[in-house]
């Protein structure tokens, strides 16, 4: 078991955004979290990745209790994430964003920097190579030298994924990676995630695009009002009446169009 939470809670004032969530994900798994808007999915990510402290409960990552571990340390331990509201380094180029993403895998310090040590050179070489490879991997090579803030939305999303990958994580948390992508781009994203899985990465994602969830997730966890209300294989969950009611809605073929004449 790679990540596990026990009775995890996060409250904002009186609001229980995450409520007693028991969750786990195994190495190599692809798990999707779905749930209505405001059901606490992003907050769950925030707590797990150390950006916000948990109100109560435990988080165990690679058999260690990381409940009180800070965000930067979590990343070093092998968990990386993307943000729902994109948080790239806006004035750095695409390539530089990836270099920063490699930070936690570097070892060089002040001294290496000063004397341009062999270690630093080796690190730089690897960083450069890695950045090139990742840009290629997410299809952003043409944007290499553009500042992140000037990239189109979809490209920014992919850059965020690439940046998370740059830290060579074992577990990657993707918060709505397909938001703002058209169906064809979602297909590409699917392929990308599939390749990540092949690389042995464990993937936990939040997504509203059912197409993506159905195609890639091995297991789906459903949140509502901060609680886990269902869990299972994609097709089971999809037809779970609780989920249908809270999230997917009744199947209607088409929208009603009242035309004025």
């Amino acid at each position: 078991m790679l990540l596990k939470t026990e009775k995890l809670c996060k409250t904002f004032g009186g609001l229980r955004a995450v409520n007693n969530v028991d969750f786990h994900i195994d190495t190599g798994e692809v798990v999707a979290i779905i749930g209505p808007n405001g059901s606490g999915k992003t907050t769950f990510f925030n707590v797990v990745s150390g950006i916000m402290p948990a109100t109560s409960g435990r988080i165990i990552f690679k058999d260690e209790d990381v409940t009180k571990v800070e965000a930067h340390d979590i990343t070093r331990r092998g968990m990386a994430r993307t943000f729902q509201n994109i948080r790239l380094f806006p004035n750095l180029t695409a390539r530089d964003n990836l270099i920063v993403g490699r930070y936690s895998r570097g070892r060089s310090g002040l001294w290496d920097g000063l004397i341009h040590s062999a270690r630093l050179k080796e690190e730089e070489r690897r960083n450069e190579e890695m950045a090139r490879e990742l840009l290629e991997f997410v299809g952003l090579t043409p944007y290499r030298n553009l500042m992140a803030k000037n990239l189109p939305y979809g490209a920014q999303r992919r850059l965020e994924i690439a940046r998370a990958l740059a830290s060579e994580p074992e577990l990657i948390l993707l918060d709505e990676p397909a938001a703002g992508m058209n169906p064809r781009e979602v297909d590409e994203l699917l392929k990308l995630i599939a390749r990540l899985k092949e690389r042995g990465l464990t993937i936990l994602l939040i997504e509203h695009q059912m197409r993506l969830v159905m195609n890639i997730a091995e297991r789906v966890v459903v949140f509502d009002h901060g609680e886990k209300i269902a869990e299972g294989r994609p097709h089971e969950v999809r037809h779970n009446p609780k989920v249908v009611e809270a999230y997917i809605g009744p199947e209607v073929d088409s929208l009603v169009k009242h035309r004025r004449h």
Partner: protein
């Protein structure tokens, strides 16, 4: 109602919009589809005067609004629900909505507020919460609600379904249809091309800043090129 004629928009020396012309007739739903970076957002921002075209004209209800101020354009009856929601993070949900009605002369704001709350009960629940702490989807609802509060004649929507749960996506599209049927003209930018084409009358397909295809929504939905490139089939 809206006619755009030969506009060219640049970011520095990046030529983002190349000689685009398009029209929206009163009462229509028109959609613009295109890949990431095609320039959809840029067009909408140019219409409301947040970006300026170097050439061409933009006319709205026979007025030339090419160089009008954003506020002036909005007061004429155009509202934009911007990409990325752009809610005022430190204002409450209610205040965000009320600000949507800033340009209105009439005082019937309360009734519309009630309507928005009815449309999005979650916003009613959270009316005193700071908008910046809403979840992504909640913010999207708020942005949409805020856009409606100005009772626009022409509503520009930039990816309104982004980040919404499936149930809500359907609901949003239904809402778009509803407000359209109540007389609001709509120009819709959507990644969910399938849905967009299913509710639109006409559509434009954009590629790297140029219109490459235009036609009725039904024709576009049947076009092989479109199906492959944007519907993922």
């Amino acid at each position: 109602m809206l006619s755009i004629d030969g506009i060219n928009v640049y970011y520095g020396n990046i030529h983002a919009i190349r000689d685009i012309s398009l029209t929206v007739e009163e009462g229509e739903i028109v959609t613009i589809i295109g890949a990431n970076g095609a320039g959809k957002t840029t067009i909408l921002k140019t219409i409301v005067g947040l970006l300026r075209s170097r050439t061409g004209t933009i006319r709205f209800q026979d007025d030339d609004i090419t160089s009008a101020s954003t506020a002036g354009i909005v007061r004429r009856g155009i509202a934009l629900v911007p990409e990325g929601r752009r809610v005022f993070p430190r204002l409450s949900v209610a205040d965000n909505l009320i600000l949507g009605a800033y340009s209105r002369q009439d005082k019937d704001v309360q009734r519309d507020l009630a309507k928005v709350y009815e449309m999005f009960p979650r916003l009613a629940e959270r009316r005193h919460q700071a908008a910046g702490t809403l979840s992504g989807g909640e913010q999207q609802m708020l942005a949409m609600g805020r856009g409606l509060m100005s009772r626009p004649k022409l509503l520009l929507l930039d990816e309104p379904s982004m980040g919404l749960a499936p149930l809500l996506v359907r609901q949003i599209f239904q809402t778009i249809l509803d407000i359209n049927s109540m007389g609001t003209t709509i120009l819709l930018v959507e990644q969910n091309a399938r849905m967009a084409l299913s509710i639109a009358d006409r559509g434009y397909v954009l590629e790297t800043g140029s219109v490459v295809l235009t036609g009725s929504a039904a024709d576009l939905a049947d076009n092989d090129e479109v199906r492959r490139a944007y519907l993922g089939e």
